[in-house]
């Protein structure tokens, strides 16, 4: 930097040295007072021209001196060193005004800038001084600029650091490749309707919201296919995996052509035609079949019963008591299902009632005691809880009288948070007791309430619904083990579930209408996947899908378990 200034700037540096000895300078006829008035420094600011190293500049004042002596304007200047023509100007810089700065017109404006440097700390090359007709140039001639005595000049410039571009260039979303833009959106793409395939699209979207299923699928190829899985199931599993991957990567709607082909191959009922078009299908059927296929193919090669990933995620173990009133026989049986049914009768207004209703049934079977068929009452209770609880609203039924499939439009409310404690078996309830207490304490604390046991459980952390889903990426087996018993890792089921996806049907009849998926994202947003158009929805609108009108109504809903760590 120093080199750039060359002689005049060096001179300036000397100035700062010399002004410390004002006594000597005062008698020096060649030196000038610069700005005696408002400078922050008390002593007059001076510099010594005689010490200037350059000869050419030194000669200049002499020449001017001779020329200027006779000029009448000299009289205006009262300073002792008034042989030279001086102009007194004030300079405005930012909000400050420096009065009475003298300009020696014999010297190039650079000297003036050097004066200002001392006052303002702005390096001369950063100074911009406005004069008539533009900026003051370093080598301009004062006489041609036309600065008048007493004029107010304006200076612009700062000593601030010059802005530099950050070393790490900022990456803009617009420059990103397509798949990364997708992650920016916070939700994945929609699926193109290939002709009445909304049942499939909505099913896929709902199932895709289960991260554990995704990770299980991604491990699938590694595990290789076990021998007892047939070719088509394998293909379907692979197609599912690919489709999920495509959805995550894409911004625009994905066309599920491959998946659809394989699905139809595996389940020929989906390729039924009607008037040359593919028929509308039941989403529940698609859902069940797809899950079944996946559960078959995702069975770990070690093939123990517990390692069925799908079952671990969705399977509900039911323990039923079958009771015959006539004979008083009683037996118990267990079964495993992938979804609970919510039966809709005239008394059912709420999901809970429907579930209870669904767990009770009558069946006719031959009674060994009576020796004929008798009516048995079957009451089921949940024996083990799944990670994801699927509930199907039994809205479609076969009307015997008319030989038609009919739809029940009845409004059945469902909550965003479902507690199925009272549907559980005694043993399970006992297991749930402690975690539920923790959960209640946690919630109480959250609300700022002091509970009795809170002091003890201060360190208890409730893992949010997301926590297990994040770690599930590690391995599917971990998820499997957890799903069934969920005790080893310290997280416990609470019997409380949060709504994560809703598959709705719109339309009055069972054979036509439109399926749409409503899925909660990890960010907490609800997205409506209407084939290729995802759109954001409000949470309170999700509970309005409970039926009772012509709006979308829930057909299959999925809840995610809430865990508490102990």
């Amino acid at each position: 930097m120093g080199k750039k200034y060359e002689n005049v700037f060096e001179l300036l540096i000397e100035t700062t040295v010399y002004k410390k000895k004002p006594g000597r300078n005062r008698h020096d006829p060649t030196q000038r007072f610069v700005n005696p008035a408002p400078s922050k420094r008390k002593e007059p600011l001076t510099y010594d021209i005689s010490r200037r190293p350059s000869n050419s500049v030194e000669e200049e004042p002499k020449r001017n001196k001779n020329k200027l002596v006779s000029l009448p304007s000299l009289q205006a200047i009262k300073q002792e060193a008034s042989q030279f023509k001086m102009l007194t100007v004030s300079v405005k810089w930012q909000k400050k005004v420096f009065e009475g700065i003298e300009i020696d017109v014999s010297l190039p404006p650079y000297v003036f800038k050097a004066q200002l440097y001392d006052l303002t700390g702005v390096p001369p090359e950063r100074q911009k001084i406005m004069v008539k007709g533009g900026l003051l140039k370093d080598d301009a001639d004062w006489s041609s600029i036309g600065v008048k005595d007493g004029q107010k000049l304006m200076m612009m410039g700062t000593a601030d650091e010059i802005v530099k571009a950050p070393e790490k260039a900022i990456v803009f979303a617009e420059d990103l490749p397509e798949e990364e833009q997708a992650t920016n959106l916070g939700y994945s793409a929609g699926l193109v309707n290939l002709g009445n395939t909304c049942y499939m699209n909505s099913t896929v979207q709902c199932l895709k919201s289960v991260p554990e299923l995704k990770s299980a699928l991604s491990n699938y190829s590694l595990a290789g296919r076990s021998n007892d899985v047939d070719q088509t199931s394998h293909m379907l599993t692979v197609a599912t995996r690919e489709l999920f991957g495509d959805l995550d990567r894409s911004v625009n709607a994905v066309s599920p052509t491959q998946f659809w082909m394989v699905l139809r191959k595996k389940f020929p009922q989906f390729s039924q035609l009607q008037n040359g078009m593919h028929m509308q299908q039941d989403a529940e059927e698609c859902w069940t079949q797809l899950l079944y296929t996946l559960s078959q193919s995702l069975k770990a090669p070690t093939s123990s019963e517990d390692s069925d990933a799908v079952k671990a995620l969705f399977g509900v173990n039911l323990r039923s008591r079958v009771h015959c009133q006539e004979s008083g026989e009683e037996s118990s049986e267990t079964e495993s299902v992938y979804s609970l049914k919510c039966h809709i009768s005239h008394e059912v207004n709420h999901l809970h009632e429907g579930l209870k209703h669904g767990l009770k049934g009558e069946l006719e079977k031959t009674s060994p005691a009576l020796g004929r068929t008798a009516v048995y009452l079957k009451e089921s209770l949940i024996d083990s809880l799944p990670r994801y609880l699927t509930v199907q609203f039994v809205r479609f039924f076969w009307k015997r009288e008319t030989n038609q499939k009919a739809k029940i439009l009845r409004k059945v409310d469902y909550p965003l948070e479902l507690d199925i404690y009272d549907l559980c078996s005694e043993e399970l309830r006992k297991k749930l007791e402690a975690p539920r207490q923790k959960l209640r304490d946690e919630e109480g604390k959250k609300l700022g309430l002091q509970t009795k046991s809170s002091s003890k459980d201060g360190d208890v952390k409730m893992t949010d619904a997301e926590a297990p889903s994040n770690e599930s990426g590690e391995s599917s087996t971990a998820a499997q083990q957890e799903g069934a018993s969920s005790s080893e890792k310290g997280t416990h089921m609470t019997g409380i579930y949060d709504l994560v996806s809703v598959l709705t049907h719109k339309g009055r009849s069972a054979d036509s209408g439109h399926y749409v998926a409503w899925v909660k994202q990890e960010s907490g947003k609800w997205i409506q996947y209407d084939d290729s158009y995802p759109s954001v929805q409000r949470e309170e609108d999700i509970t309005k899908l409970s039926g009772g009108g012509d709006w979308h109504m829930a057909y299959i809903i999925m809840y995610k378990a809430r865990f508490v760590s102990m």
Binding site: G134, I170, V171, V536
Partner: protein
Amino acid sequence: MAPGPDPNSVGDGAKRDEATIKVPSKDPKKKDDKKEEDLSEEDLQLKQNLELYVERVQDPNPELQKAALESMRQEIRASTSSMTSVPKPLKFLRPHYGTLKEFHKNMAESDLKKLLADILSVLALTMSAEGQRESLGYRLTGSEGDIGSWGHEYVRNLAGEIAEEYTVRQGEEASIEDLMDLVQQIVAFHMKHNAETEAVDLLMDVEDLDLLLEHVDRTNFRRTCNYLTSAAKYLPGPDDMLVLDIAYMIYIKFEEYPNALQIALFLDNMQYVKQVFTSCTDLLRKKQFCYMISRHGITFELDPEMVENDVDREMLQDIVNNTKLSEGYLTLARDIEVMEAKTPEDIYKAHLLDGRASSGPSADSARQNLAATFVNAFVNAGFGQDKLMTVPSDSTSGSAGNWLFKNKEHGKTSAAASLGMILLWDVDAGLTHLDKYFHSNDNPIIAGALLGVGIVNCGIKNDCDPALALLGEYIDKEDSSVRIGAIMGLGIAYAGSQNDQIRSSLSPILNDAKAPLDVIAFAALSLGMIYVGSCNEEVAQSIIFALMDRSEAELGEALTRFLPLGLGLLYLGKQESVEATAEVSKTFNEKIRKYCDMTLLSCAYAGTGNVLKVQDLLAQCGEHLEKGDIHQGPAVLGLAMVAMSEELGLDMAIRSLERVLQYGEQNVRRAVPLALGLLCKSNPKVTVMDTLSRLSHDTDSEVAMSAIVSLGLIGAGTNNARIAGMLRNLSSYYYKDASLLFCVRIAQGLVHMGKGLLTLSPFHSERLLLSPTALAGIVTLLHACLDMKSIILGKYHYVLYFLVLAMQPRMMLTVDENLKPISVPVRVGQAVDVVGQAGRPKTITGFQTHSTPVLLAAGERAELATDKYIPLSPILEGFIILKENPDYREE
């Protein structure tokens, strides 16, 4: 008016006349004799008397005649009943009108004849057929006595007949001297009897308003001038100027200088402005004038003739130069307590949208950051601080630098320039902040800094001309973005200044064959701004040549539209002066010819309310053309520009635009929202808001975009909660469409412009004056919005900063005699139109009392709520100097 009898029945049948008289509460179908029976004793007596007089008048004896006439006159004058029904004497005399007329015709010239003529003149009031002007005829032959003695209705009728007669005589080129005598009398009468409006009407009819000057006095000049100024809006051609001229002279006569100045500014007559200064001797009042001029945004140099003392002149010039605007604005901001800087997020209020909160730490979107830059600039405009650009940078990674670099390429131009907006009007601080960007090695940043300098200096004049000194050097730089930055900066900083030095440096660019199109376009635009409304021939020439030099391909470019626009701005509001240039424009390449035509027409008649031009433009909008024609856009905008000046025309324009929307082609529909935005800038009318809200969901995305931007314009600086809510919902509706979302963000920034302290309305002084530079700024933006995709959504988004020309604090700030702000109580309420109302009606309604400084919304007016001070201007807007009232007594 009395019931008009059948024109053919005058001479012949008294009987038929009788039948047509409407007698209140009586069945007109009754027969004459029956009616007579119904008359009361008194009336019967009167009737008989009158009949007697009529007979006597025809008596040969002059004595008797005279007595009869006198009595008749007595009777007529005595009947003071109002004109809701025909006065009885007149009614009873009606059957004899024909007889008397006949008799009068045959009478010899005498006083008596004149007397009779007087009476006939009065009788003709109810009897004369339409178009006969008998009343006037008899009046002229009559005795020329005091005209008022026959009552108001008579005078009024006479005035009407004079107007008719005048036109007839004008056609025949006959003398009108006798009429003018009568006019004199009538005007004098009207002016004395609170009927200024009628006096003015009559004088306008006979085209001799000068007479008014003799008859106005202290008591009625205000009402007179009020009527004159508001009537001027509806007058055609040169008449309106004439009328305002008279109003100006009246104001000067009664030393009502602020009003006189207002009219002088309206007329754009600097001679008059000067006269105001020379006629007024009070320095304090002159200061007030300077504030008024500064608000109008014109460049005005005081000379020693206007203000003698040098020191005073300098101080006044400072006011004209707007140097204190920033200070006043900040005083207002501090008083309202909105100094705290706002971030774009404070404006978006994303938390009010469900589940739409940002999805974690995603990558920066350049588009959204650019939008945030603009929002930040608009919202914090003039406050000198914000949370993105001016935060002090720490040593390693200054956050100011950071934000700048969060914008991409040309986005950095807008980001750097946003500093200018944030430090608006504060030249010193602004230049300080911008300085460091001059030394950047990144061209877009330098361009932004240059533009920023222009913005900071917008509306502020400085003796040192810092903008010119700084920007002048960059005009001919290599990089075109830097050039554009400098050129646009000059255009903004020197809008309306007619600075020759800039012209001589910008004009060569226009005709430089090597210059890129965008540089030429911005040069033309800047010249248009600098010479706005000047009709400068040289500039016009340069732009015309530049237009002619453009190749076919260049004419198809979006930016080319700035050339005709620049040309149009030269003639902004200058009406006929544009004709020569418009003629030249007919020779242009057909691609641009019509666009140029429309732009010139709309600019020249902007704010005039000229109905014929509105019709022309409407006709253009209604055409259904092949694709590719772009001239309908400016036609729609022109419609709004012409009609925007007065309320009635404005409402009609809004209605017509609805029709245009329904029947127009797509390119017309795209311009309609913008036109609506122009009509209601910073004036969120609910109906317009609803229309725009509807259009913002239009299937055509360009219609939607312009509707969204217009929502921002109509709500600009109002903080209107309803629009803010609409925009918030739109932001969630369009969150996937980056372009539309950008528009929504811009609109959000506009609505909260200056945190609600600013307005974009070019109208001020009770909507009378139209600031040409402000209008130029808005019109430029709107023209840019006609092709949103290639300009604002392209790389020329900084044209948004042209809005700065229209940005003004919507405040009323009272200052004392030393120009220090003082707080006084004021009433702020909805302005009431009091033109033509008798007495001293209230000028505001539904008012609330605040203490100054206060904000004035569109259509609001303030009045002082204390007698302690006297405002030096009757128009309480902007800076108002208060003088202590010497008569004030503390209670």
